[in-house]
């Protein structure tokens, strides 16, 4: 089975779906220009050679334009994959995403479908406050959107294909340090999230989480990069006799509550790790859900490990302080014993 980076797996998924379904097309800034990178992180690199510039559509630097075209095309029968150069730019599109795309199916009594896919890189990678946020949680609060967060190459391809075939607007958040982008687009401090990816057609179902590591003493829930921080922490903790179970929900909306609840019922302890600002965040939602549905199984308070309530800092030492480190996860887990 071929090994791929997440960027390569996504490219493979797009390629397969575009071959399978002529209504699928990509649009975004610099995703197919000759001599370009294939988007900011090489995901669409080379696709214009096969599909041409009509289906790998380069847009002006206008997020409002991208969103409008993508949503309109989706409502009228196409299956667009919009490339958001940096997730931070999603804020430019808020009205179109929250008020239009997310609500059309409800407001039309189900007659209008919006089979839109929007891919957005997130994560602090020394790019400062406006190119570094992890803003998944904003979109998990908008009914009508599905929100995916693949952390492996296998899941990236499988979830992307599920998203493309889904009739609802789906946002896929991708972490810049997990892409495995090469050459000029490789990121400092990136992990090599290389994994086996089947060449054949497969999908990863939306709404199913996965246990990345089994353990009996504490449940750590992470997403995207923090899944890896959780796994690193689990390794350290194991040396001290604490066996952590690491859960990767993969899909934020809809959420696989049961995989988290089942784990917490076993371990009695929960730590949620996310790169976003802590207040009113995704971690708070997971904590509340567990407190409501598994309270009597808890043996310790629920802990959140997240970024402080500031924009991501630009200075590397400050950024290192800001993002949840493995050490912080270890320390949070230990505080529960």
């Amino acid at each position: 089975m071929p090994e791929m980076t997440i960027a390569e797996a996504l490219r493979e998924g797009i390629r397969e779906e575009m071959r399978r379904d002529p209504s699928v097309f990509c649009l975004g800034e610099d995703i197919g220009i000759p001599g370009g990178f294939g988007g900011a992180f090489t995901v669409t690199l080379g696709l214009s050679d096969e599909f041409g510039h009509d289906r790998i559509l380069d847009t002006p630097i206008s997020e409002i334009g991208i969103a409008g075209v993508a949503i309109g095309a989706a409502m009228t029968g196409m299956r667009p994959i919009a490339d958001v150069q940096y997730g931070d730019f999603l804020f430019c599109m808020m009205d179109q995403l929250a008020n239009q795309a997310a609500k059309m199916t409800y407001m039309s009594g189900g007659t209008v479908k919006v089979p839109l896919v929007m891919r957005a890189p997130v994560g602090s990678t020394r790019r400062g406050s406006q190119h570094a946020q992890s803003l998944e949680a904003f979109f998990t609060h908008i009914p009508g959107l599905k929100v995916l967060a693949p952390s492996t190459a296998y899941d990236a391809k499988g979830l992307l294909k599920s998203a493309i075939r889904d009739d609802n607007p789906v946002l896929i958040f991708e972490h810049k340090l997990l892409y495995g982008s090469k050459g000029g687009r490789s990121e400092k401090g990136a992990l090599t999230a290389v994994g086996e990816v089947p060449s054949e057609d497969y999908v990863v179902p939306i709404g199913k989480g996965v246990v990345r590591r089994t353990g009996k003493d504490v449940t750590i829930v992470g997403k995207l990069l923090t899944v890896y921080r959780a796994l690193e922490a689990a390794q350290e903790l194991a040396q001290e006799g604490i066996e952590a179970e690491v859960i990767d929900p993969r899909t934020l909306i809809p959420l696989d509550k049961e995989i988290i609840l089942e784990s917490v019922r076993k371990t009695g302890r929960l730590v949620v790790v996310e790169e976003d600002n802590i207040t009113h965040g995704w971690g708070a939602e997971i904590a509340a859900m567990v407190a409501e549905e598994a309270f009597f199984y808890l043996d310790a308070p629920i802990k959140r490990v997240a970024a402080p309530d500031t924009p991501p800092p630009f200075a590397p030492p400050m950024e290192a302080f800001y993002v949840p480190s493995t050490a912080r996860v270890v320390s949070a887990v230990k505080s529960l014993f």
Binding site: G268, F295, F296, Y297, L298, D299, A300, P301, S335, L336, F337
Partner: protein
């Protein structure tokens, strides 16, 4: 329901013990069978376990106080029970005694308000504790901020069974046996040789009939009072003493007892319901009749010693498990037996 915390009857010749320390304080939650206080007898210190689970209150004795066996020194109330001031002890003999210099009898202190110290327990631990009927309030928490967590409940549930450090109790008295010695000599001159063992056994049967509760055995925690009297008697076997049993001793005559003692049945299927050990003929005046906890009362008989004025006396030591018989009953029995020796002919009728 409130349970009285009673000083156990553990003393030897006197029923006064010293309260060394409480392991719990007024208002503390306690668990049945956990060590509650420690007392000192004239032989040893020993832990006494809580008779029930609940909240400890109405402590009427402090560390250093002398306390009387069978007196109440505290009360344990079930959870949620309204704590009332304790009713006074009924038996004046059993009233707790405070330090000698205490000038006036003080009424029991009014119950203190419930402890305000909040105990934290995780929902998981609480769920486990309540499903297993564990009174978690007295567990020691080892979780975050000292909260009781699941492992604390598990440690409690998996604790080794609490074994009380009870000691056998020995009561000792000196009995006058002048008449008994005379009787034996008279029988001897009449050509009816008789051993002291046979006489002890018959006299004991007589005494036991007046104290049926002394004719008892303890198997595990079960006390059985017996109708037939199977007297055990230690016999020398090599360097050791072994217990032989004369079944239905109460149905025997002096003659059959004598015959039996000749044969010395050492493999009787009956277990002794009372036993004697006679080291007097080995020249021992007084002794502790057994080392291990006996499962029936055991009477040790010492040497018959001549006294001034042509009298004779013997030391009697009665050893028993305090769970088997109370010290008071045993003391009355021993006294009664000792008195019967002054007029053995009457006893043998």
């Amino acid at each position: 329901m409130a349970t009285d915390v009673i000083v156990p009857p553990l003393g030897t010749t006197v029923d006064t013990l010293t309260l060394i320390a409480w392991y719990k304080q007024e208002g503390d939650a306690v668990l049945k069978d956990e060590p509650l206080f420690v007392v000192e007898t004239d032989k040893a210190t020993l832990d006494v376990e809580a008779p029930a689970s609940g909240k400890l209150h109405s402590l009427s004795a402090q560390a250093g106080d002398s306390v009387t066996a069978l007196s109440r020194i505290a009360v344990i109330s079930a959870e949620g029970e309204v704590i009332k001031p304790p009713t006074p002890n009924l038996s004046p003999k059993q009233a707790p005694t405070t330090k000698a210099e205490a000038p006036k009898p003080t009424p029991p202190p009014p119950p203190k308000p419930t402890s305000l110290k909040r105990i934290f327990i995780s929902p998981r631990a609480k769920r486990l504790a309540e499903s297993r009927q564990v009174v978690w309030q007295s567990l020691k928490g080892t979780g975050p901020e000292g909260a009781i967590v699941e492992r604390d409940v598990n440690v409690y549930l998996e604790r080794p069974a609490f074994t009380p450090t009870l000691l056998p109790v020995t009561l000792t008295t000196e009995a006058e046996v002048t008449e008994l010695v005379a009787l034996k000599e008279r029988l001897q001159t009449m050509g009816a040789g008789v051993s002291y063992e046979a006489l002890w056994m018959l006299l004991l049967v007589r005494a036991l009939k007046g104290y049926p509760k002394m004719n008892a055995t303890l198997e595990r925690d079960t006390v059985t009072h017996w109708e037939p009297i199977h007297l055990g008697i230690t016999v020398e076997e090599g360097d050791d003493l072994r217990l032989a049993v004369l079944p239905n001793t109460d149905k025997q005559s002096l003659k059959t007892v004598l015959q039996a003692l000749e044969l010395m049945p050492t493999d009787s299927p009956e277990k002794p319901t009372f036993a004697i050990t006679n080291l007097g003929e080995l020249g021992i005046d007084s002794f502790t009749p057994v080392v291990a906890m006996p499962n029936c009362p055991l009477l040790g008989i010492g040497r018959i010693k001549p006294q001034n004025g042509g009298n004779y006396s013997v030391w009697l030591s009665l050893t028993f498990d305090p769970r088997l018989v109370g010290s008071g009953l045993a003391a009355r029995f021993l006294n009664s037996f000792a008195k019967s020796l002054q007029n053995p002919l009457f006893a043998l009728l």
